[in-house]
Amino acid sequence: MSLKTFWHKLGSPRWFYQISAGWIIGFGVAAMVLLLVGTVWGLAFAPADYQQGNSFRIMYVHVPAALVAQSLYLGMGVAGVVLFVWRMKLADVAIGACLPLGMLLTALALFSGGVWGRPTWGTWWEWDARTVSTLVLLFLFIGIFALREAIEDVELRARASALVAIVGTINIPIIKYSVEWWNTLHQGSSLFLTKKPAMPAEMWLPLLVMILGVYCFAGHNVLSRMRIEVLRRERNTQWVKALFTD
């Protein structure tokens, strides 16, 4: 199926409902395996950091949460563009589905960062580049959440949150750069896919597994929330009724 027909078909909620079943199971299994392997590997087998000792193991939870949270927001921005340009209702379903997990993961990144900061920086909270940009990300999420709560009408809520998601996404790089410039007490970004990671292989490999694991989990979670929302919105259509008359 060419991308063109895929794109066209994505418009029909029914088609999405059918194909998403397979993807959800696939993501679910992958996430289960990857997260299990990653945690065991990171917790038990990875060597301790020579400075921080074992507390660095929080990184295997902290970094994936932060990265996936950011990609979820960017995903909402893309969905916003899709909604405005192609008027696709599914995009709004996607925004609504990414929101709760995005907020949760950002909060998790903040919490795990704080817990990690206690032994290494000595305080629960440290105003620095990473912490601020994550806090801003949390507020960007809460902004969209509060806006969606304030509007009842489905179509208006879709266009309003799409607009905020787009404007927010345009600003993320600016916020990131301004925060980075401002002062970076935070550990330099040690994991670039391009240059050799500062950490030895047996340290960043489990991190890679964990990151993939959390991405799969996010895929599973978001797609299943979308399925529920699609069913709720199409509850009066024939194909949904047919599905549920046993």
Partner: protein, 193 residues
């Protein structure tokens, strides 16, 4: 010229009235009637391009819209409001034309009073003066009779008659029928929620 094909407006996923098919030729007066909540205001705001939740299609030439709200900036006086509206519609008006319009609605001696310091009927008259200034062929009016005294009501009828006579179109939602020649009534039936 106005053309509606299978046009129906939605509030959320709730349809307000059965789809409409209508073609309005120049010089005609369409009277929109129906109980409260039938969807007259929603239809007029859809035709004016303000409200976008509708199904079907419609075409409207250059139009002017007068809603339940006055549409004037309370802080500015009538002259400034009328100039601003002309700029909005992209036409340029001389001071003389403004004074003539205000004289026609008998509000000349309020020309410099901020609109918020006027009675309901006086504000409505300034809105009527605004219609005279634009050269829009289609007038979309939502209950224009509100708060007008008897003199203003007769003036309203004259203005609508001369507009239709000059090949203009008037689509007007109203609860008190206006007897204009060539009147065609469009009844919107209320849908229980």
């Amino acid at each position: 010229m106005i053309k509606l094909s299978q046009l129906s407006c939605r509030r959320g996923e709730f349809k307000l009235f059965a789809p409409l098919d209508l073609t309005v030729a120049a010089g005609q007066y369409i009277e929109l009637t129906g109980p409260n909540g039938a969807g007259k205001t929603t239809l007029l705001r859809t035709l004016a391009g303000i409200y976008q939740q509708y199904d079907g299609a419609f075409e409207v030439e250059d139009f002017l819209f007068q809603g339940h709200r006055i549409g004037l900036d309370g802080l500015l006086n009538p002259l400034e409001n009328l100039t601003w509206h002309a700029a909005l519609a992209g036409t340029v008006v001389q001071d003389e034309q403004l004074r003539e319009a205000l004289r026609r609605v008998d509000m000349l001696n309020y020309a410099l009073t901020p609109v918020q310091a006027m009675s309901q009927g006086q504000q409505r008259r300034i809105a009527m003066a605004r219609w005279l200034l634009g050269d829009a062929r289609v007038w979309l009016l939502d209950e224009p009779v509100t708060a007008l005294d008897s003199a203003a009501q007769t003036l309203l009828l004259e203005m609508l008659q001369s507009h239709c006579a000059a090949d203009g179109i008037v689509v007007c939602a109203t609860h008190t029928p206006l007897d204009l020649p060539g009147k065609q009534s469009l009844q919107l039936s209320a849908v229980t929620q």
